[in-house]
Each structure stands twice: as structure tokens, then as C-alpha cells.
Symmetry: C2
Subunit: 318 residues, 2 copies
């Protein structure tokens, strides 16, 4: 519904950003509010404060009908708790009920990439497609699976954790406690790490953008530098894109989907990311040349996909 | 049907063996016949000769009602051709129609692991389970996917090629033309290669079993040696088992199934393979400790699962 007894709001809670938006029943985003995620080494309540703050900013005095929370973590089967989240401090807290109490509205909690996959399949790049994989490149990698026209959430609601598939034995350490996870090579964090490793080694505008302090380098700085033609930034995108294609080849070997959709903040770079990814996908996919390689396309709903899916899933329950 | 207008026969065509069997409508195997696969560098007809020979041996003078062929390769969507098979010479030939003509009965052609997954889900280890992954360890690794109680074959019929997911960048070369595929580290071929690398380095009964010629070492020799307590053979199983667990952790991160079923010839080793696999799965799975780890069980139908599934799928069409 629109404007009647209250608004549908979706909130995407990622490792770096909390993005809230008012969403219509047709998946349109009317306005958004952005807050920083306070990090993963803070009290759980600090993330909830940022979330409530963003929701309040986006709704103002309007009544709330339902709030959907798309969280970057494992959500339990009944949708009440985030049981584990590498980039967030939530560890089994009853987030849904605590937020419902603070916001005074029913709250639906789901995995962020599952929400994004639902939104892309319903309103976005996957409309009319009977199978697709969504890979969301943000701080890490999230994933969502559509088969036979519907979401496959997994037997325990934990499917789609593509980012923690190991691609390099004894590789780079991951926030999840293991090593060599795909998201260490293809994500916003990976983009920054690759670029950072060249600071002081090669001339790059990134040195100025981060005021000479490698620790202050961010993903958006690398995106901006790549757009202005900076070679170090472009090489970082090429590396992240190649690893994206290698990991996607593994997923296509396993699932054989009709379509691959890439979302998340890093995907705004478009073909700077997707062109090397397509090349690596073709080169890495078993049987390429003897089979159809699924199209690799950017998410149509951009960084809002997660909050749109969460809002619409939440709205459908009230 | 049983005995009326003819027999249902299933044939599993793998990289090393052609195994044919007469199968009842309840999935029971009445008798089998085994032939060697002539290899992948021969004429396509040579494999078909071995197949027809095995079918004839198993049926004798009895009439054939339907033949199901479970092939270790990519089968096209309408089930008429094997478009690509790393371990077989078939490359796009119309295998189904050629075999139907030679055998004088309708032939159904499908991927071997898909057939095995169907059989295990219907009659075997996965009975009553709504989602499972089957991993078949033979010459390579085949895979089958059950979600929401039914087979997921992929958009183009090519899902489940788990063996060609890359687990080691620039790793061991694979018959598929790429490098570092999972089946190079966890399969019958991998078992033999690991054991072979220790011949002449450590004392082992394998040296006698293969008459001192490493090229004559086979998987069954390693299995036999491991049973007799040979440490080199046991270490080979432990290595293949650990890699099995690492790859399964990747698949569980992606699919979150209720059950993992391990079939194929290598799985007859039981816990010698599955114990190290379970340990590696627990250690490698993202969020382990915060989630249910699916049980990892041996296929109940053993090496016959593929031919049983093929026969029953073929019988259902006549």
C-alpha cells in the first residue's frame, strides 16, 4: 500500500553502510537515508541505533506499516535472529523483536542478498527469468539463488553464502575466521586492498585522495580514481573483476543458471568490473564452447535492491 | 515392469567402467555386467560397442523394454547428445538415437550423477529428504542436486558439475583443459596420483600390487592396500577425504542442503574417506558452530546408483 495506514520501509544493513528507504508496493523507492555501520567490534545496540536513526530520518512523521531489514549475515529460519555475521556485531540477539519494539511496527528480518535476489527477480534484471544467481559485491560478497522461478533459501535458510567459498588454499585471512574465501579477492574490501598495496609503489591519484594515509583509502575513492583514468585504480578493478569471473565460473558449473546478476556497491563501476569478469568466466567455465554461458548483467535496482526486497517482503506480511 | 513385455536396463558409462544392470520398477538390481571404458582417445563407436556388449551380456535373450544410459558428461537439454565429456570420446554425437537403433529399444540419455541423485533420493540415502547434494567420486567427480524434493538439472541441463569447480589457482591440470579443478584433488584419479607419488619413496605394498610399475596402479589397488593397513594407501585416502570436505564446505555454503551423499567407486572405502571429509567440512564451513552442518553419508545404492536411476527414468517413459 501507499500512504494509507503507513509506509513500507526497507533497511539494508551491510558491513559499511545502513541504507533505509521508503518503498511502494510496486518496488519503487521514494526516498532514502544513509548511515555508517558502526563496525563489528561494537555493542550490538550500536548497529540498531544507526538502523532506527536511518528509519526515522526516512519516514519523518509518517506512520510505519512494516519494516524489512536486509542483514549481511546468517538469519535463523524463523527470521528473528542474526546468528552469525562476519562484518556485524550481531551474534544471536533477537534483533527482530527488539527493533519491532523500538520502531513500533512489525519487522521482517532476512539475509540481505536473499532480499536483493527477490527484488531483482521481481522488479529488476531477473524479471521473467526462471533461474538466476545474484552476487552482491559490497564489503564482502552476498548471494541469492532463484530456481524454478522461486527463491531457494536453503534447508536452514543459509544458502547463498558464496563469498565464503574457498578459492585459494591457505589464502588471505577472512573476517569469518577462515582463509582464502572468495570475498577476499572479489569485493569492496578486496578492491581497496589491491589498490592500497600499490600506494607508494606506483604513481596514483589515490595517494592524494586518501591524504597519503593508506588506512583512509575507501572503495568509492578507487571507483572515482578509476573513472578519472588512474591506472592503479583500474588495475584494482581488473583484478577484482577477474576473480569475480573465476568464482562465477564455479557457481555456473554447480547451478547452471539462466542469468548472473551482479549487485552491491562495487557493481556501480559497470563494465570496468564486468568486462574482465566476463572474460574470466568464459576462460574458467568447464565446457565453455560446448555450452551456453549465462549472461552476466548488472543489478537493475542498484544498491537499493536489498532494501526494496526487504520492504516488499515485510509489506506482504501485514 | 518386471518380465512382462521386456526388461528395464540401466547402463552407467564412466571414465573407467561401463556397468549395465537389469533393474525392477522398485529400483532393485537383478544382475549386472561390467566392461572397461576403452578410453577417451578412441572413436566414439568404441564406447558404444562396450555399452551394447554390456547390455547384451546382462539381458541375454530377454526382450528389452527401455534402456537408460547414465553418462559421465554434459548431456544436451533434449537428452539426445553428450555435448562434452572430459573422460569420454563423445563430442556431440547423437548417442541416443544410434544406441536405440543398435539395441532395438527406446533409450534415455542423462548425466550419470543426475541419475544417481534421482536413485538415491527415491530409493536410497536421501529418501524422504527435501534437499540433498550427491557427490559421486569415480574417475572424476559428478554431482546431482535435489531442492524442494525434486531434481534441479540446471537451466540447460548442465547443473552439478562440481568436479570442475576450481579449488587451487593454477593447480593440477585437468582433462577438461583447465587447472586446479576439485576432482584433481578428490576422486579416483586423485587417489591413485597421491599414492603413486609415494612409490619408491616409502615402503608400501602398492609396489608389489602394481608389479613395480606406477602406471599400472589403480584405485581398487589403493583401496585393497588401505584395508590391509598400508600407511601410504591410508594417507592417500586421508588426502582425498580432506579435499572432499573442503569442496563440500564450499557447496554447503552455497546450497545449504539437508543432506550430503557421497557415491561412486571411491565411496566404498566408507569412513576411511568420510571421516577425514567430515573433519575438513566442519573446519572449512563458514559459520560452523553457529549452524547445522548437514550429515555426510555414503550412497545407499553404492556404485549401482547411476544405472538404477537411468533405468527407472527410462522405464517411466515407456
Amino acid at each position: 500500500m501507499d500512504g494509507g495506514v503507513g509506509r513500507w520501509v526497507g533497511v539494508d544493513v551491510g558491513g559499511s553502510k545502513v541504507l533505509a528507504g521508503v518503498v511502494t508496493a510496486t518496488g519503487e523507492v521514494l526516498r532514502t537515508a544513509l548511515r555508517r555501520t558502526p563496525g563489528r567490534l561494537v555493542a550490538a545496540e550500536a548497529v540498531e541505533d544507526a538502523l532506527v536513526d536511518a528509519v526515522t530520518a526516512v519516514t519523518g512523521d509518517e506512520p510505519l506499516a512494516a519494516v524489512g531489514v536486509a542483514a549481511a549475515g546468517f538469519v535463523d529460519r524463523d527470521g528473528s535472529r542474526v546468528v552469525f555475521a562476519p562484518h556485524l556485531p550481531w551474534r544471536g540477539e533477537d534483533v527482530r523483536d527488539r527493533l519491532a519494539q523500538r520502531l513500533g511496527a512489525p519487522v521482517l528480518l532476512d539475509n540481505d542478498a536473499t532480499c536483493a535476489a527477490y527484488a531483482e527477480a521481481t522488479y529488476g534484471a531477473g524479471r521473467g527469468v526462471s533461474s538466476m544467481l545474484l552476487v552482491a559485491l559490497g564489503t564482502g560478497i552476498g548471494g541469492g539463488i532463484v530456481v524454478d522461478g522461486g527463491l531457494w533459501r536453503g534447508q536452514h535458510g543459509m544458502a547463498g553464502e558464496f563469498g565464503h567459498m574457498q578459492v585459494v588454499p591457505d589464502g588471505a585471512p577472512c573476517e569469518c575466521g577462515r582463509r582464502g574465501c572468495w570475498e577476499q579477492y572479489s569485493s569492496g574490501n578486496a578492491l581497496v586492498r589491491v589498490a592500497r598495496s600499490r600506494l607508494g609503489v606506483e604513481p596514483t591519484v589515490l595517494t592524494d585522495l586518501c591524504d597519503g594515509d593508506p588506512d583512509r583509502l575507501t572503495g568509492p575513492m578507487v571507483t572515482e580514481a578509476a573513472e578519472s583514468g588512474d591506472l592503479v585504480a583500474r588495475a584494482a578493478f581488473a583484478s577484482v573483476g577477474r576473480w569475480l569471473g573465476v568464482g562465477l565460473a564455479n557457481l555456473v558449473a554447480a547451478f547452471d543458471p539462466a542469468l548472473l546478476v551482479v549487485g552491491g556497491g562495487v557493481a556501480v563501476a559497470g563494465d570496468r568490473l564486468l568486462a574482465p569478469a566476463r572474460e574470466a568466466l568464459e576462460a574458467s567455465l568447464v565446457g565453455a564452447g560446448h555450452r551456453e554461458v549465462p549472461p552476466l548483467v548488472p543489478a537493475a535496482l542498484g544498491p537499493s535492491a536489498g532494501l526494496v526486497g526487504a520492504a516488499v517482503l515485510a509489506g506482504a506480511t501485514v
